[in-house]
């Protein structure tokens, strides 16, 4: 059982245990769909939906599941919500669904989700699991937004499709391509570590 206060439980997902910047989980969608802010945001929200509902279900039926089949059970539960998210996007937001392509179904294997079930929801109350899922999702959405904003602004000169750079700006095409994702993520990780060291040494 976690001994943190509810507030700490939420905040830890944003920074201390940020799934992307600190735990390096779920990097596949992080690298693949952050070429444009709208795609990053949609991916973040779809993952949020799956994480919250999977955590709610797993934490409420945790006592019924024998530990030998827990992973299989979690995967079925996660896959169910992923399919719901996929169908929902295809029905109501077809352009986004087209842009994200196979990456929505691939949320099933996003380690953040299975990781939180195994590490948290299966050991904590429904309420705490919900807060944990909200915090982790917020951290993931934040990471997706930062990464996709940097890549879209430098790579296309736009933010959410609106021109933000002047006519003088020559887009850095590499930022939209896969190498741009690795470069940006690397710099952001270094920055996160640097901030971490600074704050620690001050304490």
């Amino acid at each position: 059982m976690s001994t943190k206060t509810i507030g700490q439980e939420f905040i830890k997902g944003l920074w201390d245990e940020n799934p992307v910047f600190r735990q390096l989980l779920g990097l596949c969608p992080t690298l693949a769909v952050t070429g444009a802010v709208i795609n990053g945001l949609a991916m973040g929200l779809a993952t949020t939906f799956v994480l919250i509902f999977s955590s709610l279900v797993v934490s409420s039926i945790k006592k019924l599941i024998p530990s030998q089949v827990r992973i299989a059970s979690y995967i079925i539960i996660i896959a169910t919500f992923v399919t719901v998210a996929d169908r929902f996007l295809a029905a109501f937001f077809p352009p986004i669904s087209k842009n994200l392509g196979p990456y929505v179904p691939l949320i099933v294997v996003n380690c953040i989700i299975l990781g939180r079930q195994e590490a948290f929801s299966s050991k904590n109350t429904v309420w705490r699991s919900l807060i944990d899922a909200l915090g982790m999702s917020a951290g993931f959405v934040l990471a997706m937004l930062v990464l996709s904003a940097i890549r879209e602004i430098l790579g296309a000169g736009t933010f959410l499709g609106y021109q933000v750079m002047g006519a003088w700006f020559e887009p850095w095409i590499i930022m939209i391509l896969p190498p741009g994702a690795f470069i940006t993520l690397g710099i952001l990780l270094a920055l996160a570590l640097h901030i971490e060291h600074r704050t620690k040494s001050r304490k």
Partner: protein
């Protein structure tokens, strides 16, 4: 309860519950998803055959469908060829509008592509690529002008300007267009594109 029995019971019930939940979701969204696809195709037909008020599917096979665009009187005013083929990275799906004799193009629209952003992806750009496809002579094979001509006036009636730096993507589009045009011409000759024959649907 014995552990093995409990494992079976738990997994089966989770599977059944999730299956029935998904069946409901699938049922609720199925119609809308089909409608979205149909609407996307209809919008593309209207875009490539200006003046279309209704559309009709005239022919369908793998990687090639031909639609007729009709005016208010119900006369077919042009064909819209929906075709796909391999591009530089992945499949390119396009819609080409032609006149009813398949001798002139109206417009070209790219419906789906995953070419390199900033280079090959320019095949969706009106200014650098799509504008050259308007009103071209397609009674024979269309060809590419390489290196690219500076202005549209320099091009022959059956020529398309290449995108500088994206020759492969330009050629891929050209290949899809030429082969589907040839195929469609054959269908037209065989009388498979008449709007009466297919009025059943």
């Amino acid at each position: 309860m014995k552990l093995s029995v409990r494992m079976v019971v738990v997994l089966t019930s989770i599977g059944l519950l999730s299956g029935s939940f998904l069946a409901t979701v699938g049922h609720l969204t199925k119609e809308r998803i089909a409608l979205n696809k149909q609407r996307e195709i209809e919008e593309a037909i209207i875009q490539v055959i200006p003046g279309t008020v209704s559309t009709q599917k005239l022919y369908e096979e793998r990687d090639l469908s031909v639609y007729g665009g009709k005016d208010e009187q119900g006369t077919v005013i042009g064909f819209a060829i929906h075709a796909s083929g391999i591009g530089f990275q992945d499949r390119i799906t396009l819609m080409l509008g032609t006149n009813t004799s398949l001798e002139r193009t109206n417009r070209l629209a790219i419906l789906d592509q995953k070419e390199t952003p900033g280079l090959g992806a320019k095949i969706t750009d009106a200014e650098s690529f799509l504008q050259y496809w308007e009103n071209r002579d397609c009674s024979g094979a269309i060809s590419l002008r390489k290196p690219a001509a500076r202005s549209a006036e320099e091009l022959l009636p059956s020529e398309i300007n290449t995108i500088t730096g994206a020759t492969i993507s330009s050629e891929a589009v050209l290949g899809i267009v030429n082969s589907s045009l040839e195929h469609t011409r054959r269908l037209l000759k065989e009388g498979k594109l008449s709007s009466e024959a297919q009025d059943v649907n």
